[in-house]
Protein backbone atom coordinates (compact mmCIF):
# COMPACT_ATOMS: atom_id res chain seq x y z
CA UNK A 1 0.00 0.00 0.00
CA UNK A 2 2.78 2.40 0.91
CA UNK A 3 5.26 1.18 -1.66
CA UNK A 4 5.45 4.56 -3.42
CA UNK A 5 6.00 6.43 -0.17
CA UNK A 6 8.68 4.03 0.98
CA UNK A 7 10.50 4.39 -2.36
CA UNK A 8 10.27 8.16 -2.06
CA UNK A 9 11.62 8.24 1.49
CA UNK A 10 14.43 5.84 0.61
CA UNK A 11 15.32 8.02 -2.34
CA UNK A 12 15.47 11.15 -0.17
CA UNK A 13 17.46 9.30 2.49
CA UNK A 14 20.22 8.59 0.00
CA UNK A 15 21.12 12.23 -0.53
CA UNK A 16 24.81 12.68 0.17
CA UNK A 17 26.91 15.60 1.21
CA UNK A 18 27.47 18.64 -0.96
CA UNK A 19 30.66 18.50 -2.94
CA UNK A 20 30.33 14.84 -3.73
CA UNK A 21 31.29 13.81 -7.21
CA UNK A 22 28.86 14.01 -10.16
CA UNK A 23 28.12 11.75 -13.14
CA UNK A 24 30.47 13.41 -15.61
CA UNK A 25 33.43 13.23 -13.23
CA UNK A 26 32.59 9.63 -12.47
CA UNK A 27 32.41 8.62 -16.11
CA UNK A 28 35.73 10.30 -16.87
CA UNK A 29 37.51 8.25 -14.20
CA UNK A 30 35.70 4.94 -14.20
CA UNK A 31 38.48 3.12 -16.00
CA UNK A 32 41.03 4.13 -13.35
CA UNK A 33 38.78 3.27 -10.42
CA UNK A 34 37.68 -0.01 -11.96
CA UNK A 35 41.32 -1.04 -12.35
CA UNK A 36 41.92 -0.18 -8.70
CA UNK A 37 38.85 -2.09 -7.58
CA UNK A 38 39.72 -5.06 -9.78
CA UNK A 39 43.16 -5.19 -8.19
CA UNK A 40 41.60 -5.41 -4.74
CA UNK A 41 41.55 -1.78 -3.58
CA UNK A 42 38.85 -0.82 -1.08
CA UNK A 43 37.11 2.04 -2.89
CA UNK A 44 35.04 2.92 0.17
CA UNK A 45 38.25 3.65 2.03
CA UNK A 46 40.18 5.47 -0.67
CA UNK A 47 37.37 7.08 -2.71
CA UNK A 48 34.42 7.67 -0.37
CA UNK A 49 32.91 10.37 -2.61
CA UNK A 50 32.82 7.97 -5.52
CA UNK A 51 31.15 5.26 -3.47
CA UNK A 52 28.62 7.83 -2.18
CA UNK A 53 27.79 8.78 -5.75
CA UNK A 54 27.46 5.18 -6.88
CA UNK A 55 25.02 4.53 -4.03
CA UNK A 56 22.62 7.21 -5.23
CA UNK A 57 23.13 7.01 -8.99
CA UNK A 58 21.92 3.69 -10.42
CA UNK A 59 23.12 4.62 -13.91
CA UNK A 60 26.72 5.19 -12.85
CA UNK A 61 26.61 2.16 -10.58
CA UNK A 62 25.38 -0.06 -13.42
CA UNK A 63 28.14 1.16 -15.72
CA UNK A 64 30.87 0.87 -13.10
CA UNK A 65 29.82 -2.66 -12.18
CA UNK A 66 29.76 -3.62 -15.86
CA UNK A 67 33.33 -2.38 -16.36
CA UNK A 68 34.43 -4.19 -13.24
CA UNK A 69 32.69 -7.38 -14.35
CA UNK A 70 34.49 -7.36 -17.69
CA UNK A 71 37.86 -6.54 -16.10
CA UNK A 72 37.51 -9.37 -13.61
CA UNK A 73 36.52 -11.79 -16.36
CA UNK A 74 39.56 -10.64 -18.30
CA UNK A 75 41.83 -11.11 -15.28
CA UNK A 76 40.44 -14.58 -14.74
CA UNK A 77 41.14 -15.54 -18.34
CA UNK A 78 37.45 -15.97 -19.09
CA UNK A 79 37.68 -13.80 -22.19
CA UNK A 80 40.72 -15.57 -23.63
CA UNK A 81 38.94 -18.52 -25.19
CA UNK A 82 35.65 -18.78 -27.05
CA UNK A 83 32.63 -18.83 -24.71
CA UNK A 84 31.15 -22.26 -24.12
CA UNK A 85 27.56 -22.81 -25.12
CA UNK A 86 25.33 -22.77 -22.05
Amino acid sequence: MYENIVHLIECISLVHQEGAIDCVSCDAQFHCWAEQAASGADLRAILPDVVAHLEVCPECREEFEAILCILRAQQSGLLDEPQESS
Binding site: M1, Y2, N4, I5, V6, H7, L8, I9, E10, C11, I12, S13, L14, V15, E18, D22, C23, V24, D27, F30, H31, C32, A34, E35, V56, C57, P58, E59, E62, E63, E65, A66, I67, C69, I70, L71, A73, Q74, L78, L79, Q83, S85, S86
Partner: protein, 217 residues
Protein backbone atom coordinates in the same frame (compact mmCIF):
# COMPACT_ATOMS: atom_id res chain seq x y z
CA UNK B 1 45.61 -11.28 -31.00
CA UNK B 2 48.68 -9.11 -30.34
CA UNK B 3 49.45 -7.86 -26.82
CA UNK B 4 50.24 -4.17 -27.03
CA UNK B 5 51.43 -1.48 -24.67
CA UNK B 6 49.36 1.69 -24.42
CA UNK B 7 51.73 3.49 -26.79
CA UNK B 8 51.57 0.64 -29.26
CA UNK B 9 47.78 0.66 -29.24
CA UNK B 10 47.75 4.39 -29.94
CA UNK B 11 50.39 4.16 -32.64
CA UNK B 12 48.79 1.18 -34.37
CA UNK B 13 45.29 2.64 -34.30
CA UNK B 14 46.63 5.87 -35.78
CA UNK B 15 48.68 4.08 -38.42
CA UNK B 16 47.61 3.50 -42.01
CA UNK B 17 46.86 0.36 -43.92
CA UNK B 18 47.25 -3.15 -42.57
CA UNK B 19 48.72 -2.12 -39.23
CA UNK B 20 45.68 -0.01 -38.39
CA UNK B 21 43.27 -2.63 -39.75
CA UNK B 22 44.86 -5.31 -37.57
CA UNK B 23 44.72 -3.10 -34.47
CA UNK B 24 41.08 -2.23 -35.12
CA UNK B 25 40.27 -5.87 -35.58
CA UNK B 26 42.04 -6.82 -32.34
CA UNK B 27 40.29 -4.07 -30.43
CA UNK B 28 36.89 -5.02 -31.80
CA UNK B 29 37.51 -8.68 -30.97
CA UNK B 30 38.51 -7.80 -27.42
CA UNK B 31 35.53 -5.51 -26.85
CA UNK B 32 33.19 -8.01 -28.46
CA UNK B 33 34.28 -10.70 -25.99
CA UNK B 34 33.88 -8.36 -23.04
CA UNK B 35 30.45 -7.13 -24.08
CA UNK B 36 29.21 -10.62 -24.87
CA UNK B 37 30.38 -11.83 -21.47
CA UNK B 38 28.55 -8.96 -19.78
CA UNK B 39 25.34 -9.43 -21.76
CA UNK B 40 25.25 -13.18 -21.30
CA UNK B 41 26.33 -13.43 -17.67
CA UNK B 42 25.16 -10.27 -15.97
CA UNK B 43 21.99 -9.19 -17.77
CA UNK B 44 19.08 -11.24 -16.52
CA UNK B 45 16.76 -9.02 -18.58
CA UNK B 46 18.33 -10.53 -21.72
CA UNK B 47 18.01 -14.14 -20.63
CA UNK B 48 15.26 -14.71 -23.21
CA UNK B 49 17.66 -14.07 -26.08
CA UNK B 50 19.52 -16.86 -27.81
CA UNK B 51 23.29 -17.09 -27.86
CA UNK B 52 23.24 -16.05 -31.52
CA UNK B 53 21.07 -13.01 -30.79
CA UNK B 54 23.36 -11.98 -27.95
CA UNK B 55 26.38 -12.43 -30.17
CA UNK B 56 24.85 -10.24 -32.88
CA UNK B 57 24.02 -7.64 -30.27
CA UNK B 58 27.56 -7.74 -28.88
CA UNK B 59 29.02 -7.51 -32.42
CA UNK B 60 27.00 -4.38 -33.20
CA UNK B 61 27.88 -2.79 -29.88
CA UNK B 62 31.57 -3.62 -30.31
CA UNK B 63 31.55 -2.10 -33.79
CA UNK B 64 30.01 1.13 -32.49
CA UNK B 65 32.42 1.11 -29.57
CA UNK B 66 35.47 0.90 -31.82
CA UNK B 67 34.25 3.89 -33.79
CA UNK B 68 33.75 5.80 -30.54
CA UNK B 69 37.22 4.84 -29.33
CA UNK B 70 38.80 6.00 -32.60
CA UNK B 71 36.94 9.32 -32.37
CA UNK B 72 38.23 9.85 -28.84
CA UNK B 73 41.80 8.58 -29.09
CA UNK B 74 43.21 12.04 -28.34
CA UNK B 75 41.42 12.12 -25.01
CA UNK B 76 43.17 9.00 -23.67
CA UNK B 77 45.49 10.28 -20.94
CA UNK B 78 47.36 7.07 -20.22
CA UNK B 79 46.03 6.84 -16.65
CA UNK B 80 44.97 3.21 -17.09
CA UNK B 81 45.49 0.35 -19.49
CA UNK B 82 44.33 1.47 -22.92
CA UNK B 83 42.04 -1.53 -23.11
CA UNK B 84 40.37 -0.63 -19.80
CA UNK B 85 39.68 2.85 -21.13
CA UNK B 86 38.23 1.28 -24.28
CA UNK B 87 36.09 -1.07 -22.16
CA UNK B 88 34.69 1.96 -20.33
CA UNK B 89 33.62 3.43 -23.67
CA UNK B 90 32.18 0.10 -24.82
CA UNK B 91 30.19 -0.30 -21.62
CA UNK B 92 28.70 3.15 -22.08
CA UNK B 93 27.75 2.31 -25.68
CA UNK B 94 26.25 -1.06 -24.71
CA UNK B 95 24.29 0.12 -21.69
CA UNK B 96 23.03 3.23 -23.48
CA UNK B 97 21.71 0.99 -26.27
CA UNK B 98 19.98 -1.27 -23.76
CA UNK B 99 18.42 1.69 -21.95
CA UNK B 100 17.19 3.22 -25.19
CA UNK B 101 15.53 -0.06 -26.13
CA UNK B 102 13.98 -0.50 -22.69
CA UNK B 103 12.54 3.00 -22.52
CA UNK B 104 11.69 3.37 -26.21
CA UNK B 105 8.02 4.07 -25.48
CA UNK B 106 8.54 5.85 -22.17
CA UNK B 107 6.68 9.11 -21.64
CA UNK B 108 7.13 11.24 -18.55
CA UNK B 109 3.74 12.83 -19.13
CA UNK B 110 2.05 9.42 -19.18
CA UNK B 111 3.88 8.41 -16.02
CA UNK B 112 2.74 11.44 -14.05
CA UNK B 113 -0.72 11.69 -15.66
CA UNK B 114 -2.33 9.76 -12.81
CA UNK B 115 -1.97 12.75 -10.52
CA UNK B 116 -1.55 12.10 -6.82
CA UNK B 117 0.56 8.98 -6.32
CA UNK B 118 0.11 9.01 -2.56
CA UNK B 119 -2.79 7.04 -1.08
CA UNK B 120 -5.86 9.19 -0.47
CA UNK B 121 -5.97 8.08 3.15
CA UNK B 122 -4.20 5.79 5.53
CA UNK B 123 -7.04 3.28 5.37
CA UNK B 124 -5.74 -0.23 4.72
CA UNK B 125 -6.57 -2.11 1.56
CA UNK B 126 -8.72 -5.23 1.76
CA UNK B 127 -6.86 -8.22 3.09
CA UNK B 128 -4.24 -6.30 5.02
CA UNK B 129 -4.11 -6.01 8.76
CA UNK B 130 -5.45 -2.59 9.78
CA UNK B 131 -3.08 -0.40 11.79
CA UNK B 132 -4.11 0.74 15.24
CA UNK B 133 -6.17 3.96 15.25
CA UNK B 134 -3.18 5.83 16.68
CA UNK B 135 -0.85 4.57 13.99
CA UNK B 136 -3.40 5.25 11.24
CA UNK B 137 -3.76 8.82 12.48
CA UNK B 138 0.03 9.21 12.60
CA UNK B 139 0.36 7.88 9.06
CA UNK B 140 -2.41 10.18 7.80
CA UNK B 141 -0.70 13.17 9.43
CA UNK B 142 2.69 12.36 7.89
CA UNK B 143 1.06 11.66 4.51
CA UNK B 144 -0.40 15.18 4.58
CA UNK B 145 3.02 16.60 5.38
CA UNK B 146 4.65 14.66 2.55
CA UNK B 147 1.94 15.84 0.15
CA UNK B 148 2.43 19.47 1.23
CA UNK B 149 6.20 19.18 0.94
CA UNK B 150 6.05 17.80 -2.59
CA UNK B 151 3.78 20.67 -3.62
CA UNK B 152 5.56 23.47 -1.76
CA UNK B 153 9.24 22.53 -1.78
CA UNK B 154 9.76 21.10 -5.26
CA UNK B 155 9.40 22.65 -8.67
CA UNK B 156 7.21 20.77 -11.15
CA UNK B 157 10.34 19.61 -12.96
CA UNK B 158 11.94 18.38 -9.74
CA UNK B 159 8.76 16.52 -8.80
CA UNK B 160 8.49 14.84 -12.19
CA UNK B 161 12.13 13.76 -12.10
CA UNK B 162 12.02 12.55 -8.51
CA UNK B 163 8.80 10.65 -9.08
CA UNK B 164 10.08 8.96 -12.23
CA UNK B 165 13.55 8.09 -10.96
CA UNK B 166 13.08 7.76 -7.22
CA UNK B 167 9.62 6.25 -7.00
CA UNK B 168 9.15 4.45 -10.31
CA UNK B 169 12.77 3.48 -10.93
CA UNK B 170 12.97 4.88 -14.46
CA UNK B 171 16.48 5.33 -15.87
CA UNK B 172 17.96 8.79 -15.31
CA UNK B 173 19.04 8.80 -18.96
CA UNK B 174 15.48 8.16 -20.15
CA UNK B 175 14.07 10.90 -17.93
CA UNK B 176 16.83 13.28 -19.04
CA UNK B 177 15.81 12.78 -22.67
CA UNK B 178 12.17 13.48 -21.79
CA UNK B 179 13.12 16.65 -19.93
CA UNK B 180 15.45 17.81 -22.69
CA UNK B 181 18.53 17.74 -20.49
CA UNK B 182 21.48 15.42 -19.81
CA UNK B 183 22.28 12.92 -17.11
CA UNK B 184 24.59 15.17 -15.14
CA UNK B 185 22.17 18.10 -15.05
CA UNK B 186 19.34 15.78 -14.07
CA UNK B 187 21.47 14.19 -11.36
CA UNK B 188 22.11 17.65 -9.91
CA UNK B 189 18.40 18.51 -10.15
CA UNK B 190 17.55 15.30 -8.29
CA UNK B 191 20.25 15.97 -5.74
CA UNK B 192 18.79 19.43 -5.06
CA UNK B 193 15.28 18.00 -4.81
CA UNK B 194 16.35 15.32 -2.34
CA UNK B 195 18.37 17.77 -0.27
CA UNK B 196 15.50 20.29 -0.09
CA UNK B 197 12.96 17.65 0.89
CA UNK B 198 15.25 16.11 3.49
CA UNK B 199 15.93 19.51 5.02
CA UNK B 200 12.23 20.34 4.98
CA UNK B 201 11.27 17.12 6.74
CA UNK B 202 14.02 17.52 9.31
CA UNK B 203 12.83 21.07 10.00
CA UNK B 204 9.38 19.54 10.55
CA UNK B 205 10.86 17.09 13.03
CA UNK B 206 10.42 14.14 10.67
CA UNK B 207 13.52 12.00 10.39
CA UNK B 208 13.94 9.62 7.47
CA UNK B 209 14.20 6.62 9.79
CA UNK B 210 10.99 7.57 11.57
CA UNK B 211 9.06 7.93 8.30
CA UNK B 212 10.43 4.67 6.90
CA UNK B 213 9.43 2.79 10.04
CA UNK B 214 5.98 4.37 9.94
CA UNK B 215 5.21 3.14 6.42
CA UNK B 216 7.11 -0.14 6.35
CA UNK B 217 4.57 -2.52 7.82
Amino acid sequence: MTDRSNDEWLADLRADGDMQAEAINDLKHRLDRGIYYYLSRERSDLSGLSETELQHMADDMAQDSVLRVLENLDSFRGDSQFTTWAIRIAVRVAISDLRRARYRDFSLDDLTADGDFLPASANPVAGTKPPSPERAAEQADVLDKIREALADVLTERQFQALYAVGVKGVSIDAVAVELGTNRNALYKLLHDARRKLRQHFEDEGLSMNYMLRLFQE
